[in-house]
């Protein structure tokens, strides 16, 4: 059997983390293809529904990337994202999706190397954890 390849849905903010991913690319840094990036204008616009939908559709992990506190292009979107992630981890944990599957990380535009590291760490740690309960090919979708 081939090794489990986690599906990680990543919401990256346009101004910091997505730019870092771009920088990683132009600097020829590689990171695991498990990370599927969705560009959003701000981590603060990641509606909890996006995260829930990703998990319900079988994502093994969700990574939200935003600017460091104080650096948000929209002043405080990232601080709102942090409250929402705290809320979501409280709620999803009961059903087996713990904080180890939902990550929020601050990655500035210049931190291409950190982006690579976070992508590697998260992929490795979810590989170890195994697939999410909801990642089942034959599942009944409720």
């Amino acid at each position: 059997m081939s090794e489990f390849e986690p599906k990680i849905v990543a919401f990256f903010c346009n101004w910091c983390t997505f730019t870092a991913a771009d920088l990683a690319g132009t600097s020829r840094l590689t990171y695991p293809p498990n990370i599927k990036i969705i560009r959003v204008m701000c981590s603060g616009m990641v509606d909890p529904k996006y995260v829930i939908k990703a998990f319900l559709n079988g994502a093994d992990g969700v990574l939200i990337g935003g600017c460091w506190p104080g650096d948000c292009h929209y002043i405080n979107g990232n601080l709102k994202a942090r409250r929402r992630v705290a809320l979501l981890t409280e709620l999803l944990s009961q059903y087996g999706i713990g904080p180890e599957r939902l990550w929020l990380r601050w990655i500035a535009a210049s931190e291409g190397t950190m982006l690579k590291e976070v992508a590697e760490q998260m992929t490795a740690s979810i590989k170890k954890l195994g697939p999410s309960e909801l990642n089942k090919p034959q599942a009944m979708v409720a």
């Binding site: 909890p48 529904k49 939908k53 705290a86 009961q94 059903y95 409720a142």
Partner: protein
């Protein structure tokens, strides 16, 4: 210091006495209008708005039924204010939900005199009608409940009420107290200055503080807290996977009654009835490829979204469970989530008008553990 005014009643006279008290409030202009549970001409007891004492004959505030959570009604009455002073007779779960709606700017207490009730619980609406048809009265219910028995003729109070740890009503101006008041007595408590003024205007005299009240309240509260802890533990142990959650929700038909009934489901338009969820045929086919897609779809998505929306505000009134046409016990799903969410933010829904709601504030230096990163 709270002040108490005694209202004595003979057997069968409680509602008449209360009606006389409300008549005084209206007649002496302590309030211009009154919203209170009243017997309806044909059947049932519903919140009823009156402006004159002639219409108080159906007054029955302690009737063990809450057809809708009154916070919703208070919101309708005050979000476009009438400029009239309205007395509102509500239970703990209604006032706690109302506190949240005020903070969400969907209700306004400026011209309201809140009158809270002690509560032994409510029956489901259909059970209540059945019991009434068989001749059960509010006083019978109170007498039995005082003796620790809420079950009658195979009907018992709602599951939410049995685990409600707030049997008395806080954040009100006036409280109608039955716990520890003794047979044939009701105590009218002035809780705030506004309440005291209203009672004085209505001509009430204040007397001694009741001796046994604190103890009686504690006894009921302790029993409910113990029942709550046991129910939460049972839910959490039995429902700790999405499979188990889906099993609980298996009969759901996406009618959305549960969110209509919920007093703190605050969105003006629910996203689940917008175009966002009017999917294209090909999307459904895509989701079903290699899988079995239960239809109507998006059921778990809907409930999980509702959890994220109301976890900070759920007051445990149980109206969601009562509203479900398919007997899904939703209350434990929402209440256990609410306990976690509110605990994380050191918040308690309905506790205070001054505490900011958890998702309305944020701070640069907080919750560092979420990312675990420090610069």
């Amino acid at each position: 210091m709270a002040k108490f005014s005694k209202l004595a009643f003979n057997k069968g006279e409680l509602n008449n006495q209360l009606s006389a008290f409300f008549a005084d409030l209206l007649e002496k202009n302590a309030v211009d209008a009154l919203l209170a549970p009243m017997a309806q001409p044909k059947k049932g007891v519903m919140q009823t708005l009156v402006t004159s004492k002639q219409n108080l004959s159906g007054v029955d505030p302690f009737a063990p039924v809450v057809p809708v959570n009154g916070a919703r009604l208070a919101s309708s009455l005050t979000s476009n204010p009438s400029g009239k002073k309205i007395g509102m007779v509500l239970r703990s779960c209604e006032v706690r939900a109302l506190v949240e709606l005020v903070k969400l700017k969907q209700a306004n207490l400026e011209d309201v005199v809140l009158i809270g009730l002690d509560c032994y619980g409510r029956y489901e609406n259909t059970d209540f009608l059945k019991l009434r048809a068989a001749g059960a009265t509010t006083e019978d219910f109170l007498e039995n409940a005082q003796a620790g028995k809420t079950e009658t003729d195979g009907c018992d109070v709602a599951g939410a009420c049995k685990i409600c740890e707030f049997p008395t009503t806080d954040n009100v101006d006036i409280r109608l107290c039955i716990f520890g008041a003794g047979q044939g007595t009701l105590l009218i408590e002035a809780v705030t200055e506004k309440g005291e003024e209203a009672l004085q205007t209505a001509g009430r005299k204040f007397g001694d503080s009741p001796a046994g009240r604190a103890e009686a309240v504690k006894k009921i509260t302790d029993a409910r807290v113990a029942a709550k802890n046991a129910a939460f533990a049972e839910y959490r142990n039995s429902t700790n996977t999405f499979d188990a959650l889906n099993e609980r929700l298996a009969a759901c038909i996406n009618c959305y009654n549960c969110r209509v009934a919920c007093p703190v489901c605050y969105c003006k338009e629910c996203v689940f009835v917008t175009d966002t969820f009017r999917h294209k045929g090909e999307q459904y086919i895509g989701w079903a490829s290699g899988k079995a897609l239960k239809m109507p779809a998006d059921t778990t998505f809907y409930h999980m979204t509702r959890i994220t929306h109301i976890a900070a505000f759920c007051v445990g009134c149980g109206q969601c469970t009562s509203a479900c046409p398919n007997d899904i016990d939703l209350m434990p799903i929402f209440r256990t989530s609410a306990e976690k969410a509110q605990g994380r933010f050191e918040y308690l829904a309905g506790r205070s008008l001054d505490e900011p709601q958890p998702l309305s504030i944020f701070d640069h230096d907080e919750l560092v553990e979420v990312t675990g990163q420090v610069k």
